[in-house]
Amino acid sequence: MSSIRISRACRSYGSVQAVNDVTLDIHDGEFFTLLGPSGCGKTTLLRSIAGLERLDSGRIVVGDQDLARVPVHRRPLGMVFQNLALFPHMNVDQNVAYGLRARGVSRAESRARTADALDMVALGGLGRRQVAELSGGQQQRVALARALVTEPRVLLLDEPLSALDLQLRQQMQVELKRLQQRVGTTFVFVTHDQDEAMAMSDRIAVMNGGRVEQVGTPDELYQRPASRFVADFVGDSNLLDGVADAQNGKPTLVGAGLSACLPRSVPPGQQVTLCVRPESISVDAAAPDHDCRVRGLVTASVYRGSSVRLFVASEADFEFLVDVATAHGGVPVGSTVELSWRSRDSWAVTENVPSDDGMALH
């Protein structure tokens, strides 16, 4: 069952189309992420769901309620803001109880539910503290408790983790995901951080220039990006741009100073981008089924713990990113190597021409 249905949403600021004809179905109980670079319209879309921005056109339906004429404070939603927006003149209890009191819940009941909500985020007993006395992570959890205590149908989160340092952020990602699974509320999360999106989401909508480029599970986005933008934005990849051709009866990409086998047939003459992930490429270890090969010069090598990232320049000066297992042994900078991969481990993206194999936009 779908929790939120957004259809043909549009919003422009002057000549800028912030949200451009977005249609999305967000399922009940799902951790759904709007991912994209700054200015892609993800925050505008989220704020439109909350009612804090108006759409120029389009519909937003939550459950079976069209929100067009519903004011912000009557929507069945909760929201966690980027700066958390906790009330500094209230203590933790008062912050969390605020939504209950505003919705007319009795004092006694709101006291009990506030205590439960604080227990849920492991802040039991800290209700009397002033907000400013809490650490960043604790404030985060107060904001979550405050937004969840009213039991909204949907919780909207606008980059709430972006102010935290890396370690705390990763810890909060796990906590947030666990919390979402426990309460079962639909979460709509906005972030520009693709690692964060991949780590937490059931499904992700990748946005660019006000449009949704692709909707899918983290795995789908990574393995089968629908557009060059998604392939580039989600994870690291080698993107070889060229024109489709057929050589020896096999679909081939010609471009980037090389010809490489395509994993599927593409009409000859069509623009195509081949996406090869760094971990799919072997160095000087071509197996018989490695049907794509290219020679290059190692220009740099970066140690990354379990793997080493090599920067390899091809003869046509395309820079390949290649991850090899550290156990594989070092490859000296300046050496010439042969890169090879199986065409079926790569992915061909043909822009703007949806085909039948996972290319169709939602």
Binding site: H73, G78, L86, F87, A102
Partner: protein, 265 residues
């Protein structure tokens, strides 16, 4: 070391320069003679007893306090509304704010003359209503500056958070916006009160027989007599103002300190 001593000396000299005239007035107010002189002749509370017993001064004080209270209330409310309204403007906010503070730059005599015209046009000359209108207009820029400083600190997201938590616009204003604006509103009220209470130049144009304010009475008193009663009143007013300001500073400091302590923990 030398620099430090010189710096201290400069500081003391500066404050001395600022405060000396006030000290002269306060000193003169304790004279036992019947002329306004400094240094005072002898020491007595004679002139304080004189003013407290004098109907003229007490009536003036009542008028001034009434006037200050009502006009400060009005101008603070208007300034708060204006500052919050300007925050909502898409454009022209800065210009509108500037316009509201512009009266500060107009010579008081010109303001007085203009207000006299206005008050006469509405047949309010010599009445308390006329004076209140005038003082509301005079104190408004001060109140506006004070409230605007508070409004600039408001976090829009807190109001939005309140809305998403189910609170309507009125509840949001009362529970979230107003409490955070309280120090600014208090400052606006305080400054308006002080400005109104000691206003002479504009008020001179507008007073009638029954509405003489304390400062205007003091002004006309020293025009035709040289007794130290005016010094005693001045001393009282100065002390009352300073006590009020000191209280305000202590209260806001304590609030700030509480906030800082929280952050440090």
């Amino acid at each position: 070391m030398l620099l430090k001593i010189l710096g201290r000396g400069w500081l003391v000299a500066s404050f001395g320069f600022l405060l000396a005239p006030i000290l002269v007035v306060v000193g003169a107010s304790f004279t036992s003679g019947s002329l306004l002189t400094f240094p005072p002749e002898g020491f007595s509370f004679r002139w304080y007893q004189e003013i407290v017993g004098d109907e003229k001064w007490m009536a003036g004080l009542t008028t001034s306090l009434n006037l200050a209270f009502v006009s400060a209330l009005g101008s603070t409310a208007a300034a708060t509304a204006a500052a919050l309204g300007i925050r909502r403007l898409r454009r022209g906010g800065t210009a509108t704010g500037f316009l509201l503070t512009l009266p500060l730059a107009v010579p008081k005599v010109a303001v007085g003359l203009a207000l006299l015209g206005l008050v006469v046009a509405f047949a309010l000359n010599g009445t308390m209503s006329g004076l209140m209108t005038a003082h509301l207009i005079i104190t408004m820029p001060y109140a506006f500056v004070a409230v605007s400083a508070g409004v600039a600190q408001l976090d829009r997201f807190q109001e939005e958070a309140s809305r998403t938590l189910g609170a309507g616009p009125v509840r949001t204003f009362v529970m979230v916006t107003l409490p955070q604006l309280a120090p600014g509103i208090a400052a606006a009220f305080l400054f308006s009160t002080i400005v109104s209470f000691q206003e002479v130049s504009v008020t001179l144009f507008l007073v009638g027989p029954g509405t003489n304010t304390l400062p205007v009475r003091m002004f006309s008193h020293i025009l035709d007599s040289a007794d130290p009663a005016v010094a005693s009143i001045s001393a009282l007013v100065v002390i009352a103002t300073y006590v009020l300001l000191a209280l305000f500073v202590v209260v806001t400091r304590r609030r700030e300190a509480a906030g800082r302590k929280g952050v440090a923990l």
